[in-house]
Symmetry: C2
Amino acid sequence: MACKATPTWKTLTLSKVHVVLVTPRNPLNIGAVARAISNFGFESLRLVDPYRVAMDEARSAPGAGAILVSAREYATVREAIADCELAVGTASMDLRESRLPLDRLEDAAPLVRGTPGNVALLFGSEKYGLSNDDLSFCHRLVRIPTRPEHGSMNLGQAVAVCLYELIREPGTYPPAVRRQAPSGQLDRLADGLQQVLTQVEYAQVPTTLHKLRRQLRRLHLSPKDAQAVQGMLRQILWKLGSKLS
Amino acid sequence: MACKATPTWKTLTLSKVHVVLVTPRNPLNIGAVARAISNFGFESLRLVDPYRVAMDEARSAPGAGAILVSAREYATVREAIADCELAVGTASMDLRESRLPLDRLEDAAPLVRGTPGNVALLFGSEKYGLSNDDLSFCHRLVRIPTRPEHGSMNLGQAVAVCLYELIREPGTYPPAVRRQAPSGQLDRLADGLQQVLTQVEYAQVPTTLHKLRRQLRRLHLSPKDAQAVQGMLRQILWKLGSKLS
């Protein structure tokens, strides 16, 4: 049955939004997430280190749609979001210790719409949510407004609610003019910086690496600026008698 | 973990909203619905003729919460929503033939908030959605804005999205001043009217009953007005030599 009242997404290119599930373990949840992606017109599912049996079961389930078939798997969060300009972690619990800017879900939607490049929406495993390491790759965190006494949502439902919020209003948010360095470039920068700091006997891994990632994301570096900084780091390392890996 | 940013619901009394599942068949869906109700701070789950095995399995599942334990079962939609002033059917497909006023989900939320009495949100079975008979008890229909090519949502996800929309904005919609006759009163009225029409050899059951229910709901009768009409019907039937059942 077709519907005349098809939602329009004037400023939101749905293909740029990537739903990233980190270590999901339940095939039914993976299937439900794929279904919500398809329901709301999005296109991309990425999985980080999914539980093998669950993933195979989800893919072979009757009714597994195109989203599930074309879902891409990655070994790490870093690789999964390397081409993304904005990575948004999601939580239905309070994660103040993450020290990331925390938005209510509806306030995050304009940011997603306003980002010209790829955007990753990260969801943690059913049991533990996103780890501090996962969160260190995020620019921001959104919290679904569940009640504190029973905050933790089912994974498939959390994804559905977040995607609904993104398509809820066609939106007139003007896209940001300034391009952001993609996540992969920032991570190479963080690596370089850490190498430098290690060389100068400053770094305390891995706490410092998390901190570096956060700091770099707060800077909103353009790709060109990031390239320039990378050049500086290379030069410093050369001077220190090492080579940037 | 507690969260400071607890949502507030100034004009929405959460306990007045009843999620009504009509003939659900999947215990996992029933559980997921109960979880979403709890996550977003609502309190009431009602089930109409649930598949017995599914219901027992859902109730006995580990982690079945208070919502599931206190869920009430009914034999018919009519009984399940008898105390409700507003009954909203939900669909992720187009249901234009229902001939009910059709809202986008976000437009329905202020109506729910603005209703002073009980509100029922009806969700159909996983396979068939709400039937025309179910819909004849509804005042309005809301459509979750899924894409036409893959509109049908998972039941648990559909409930989560609808409840999220209700608590999304604390909202400043002024509550309606005028009370509405509860659904049960309207149904007794429809029955009486049908009896009269049958007596005068007018009624073609059941099409006419559906039509009567819709018409009565469009009138927005106050409890007092409904009572007055009921009195008239009683009088007419007495005159026709019958007694209002």
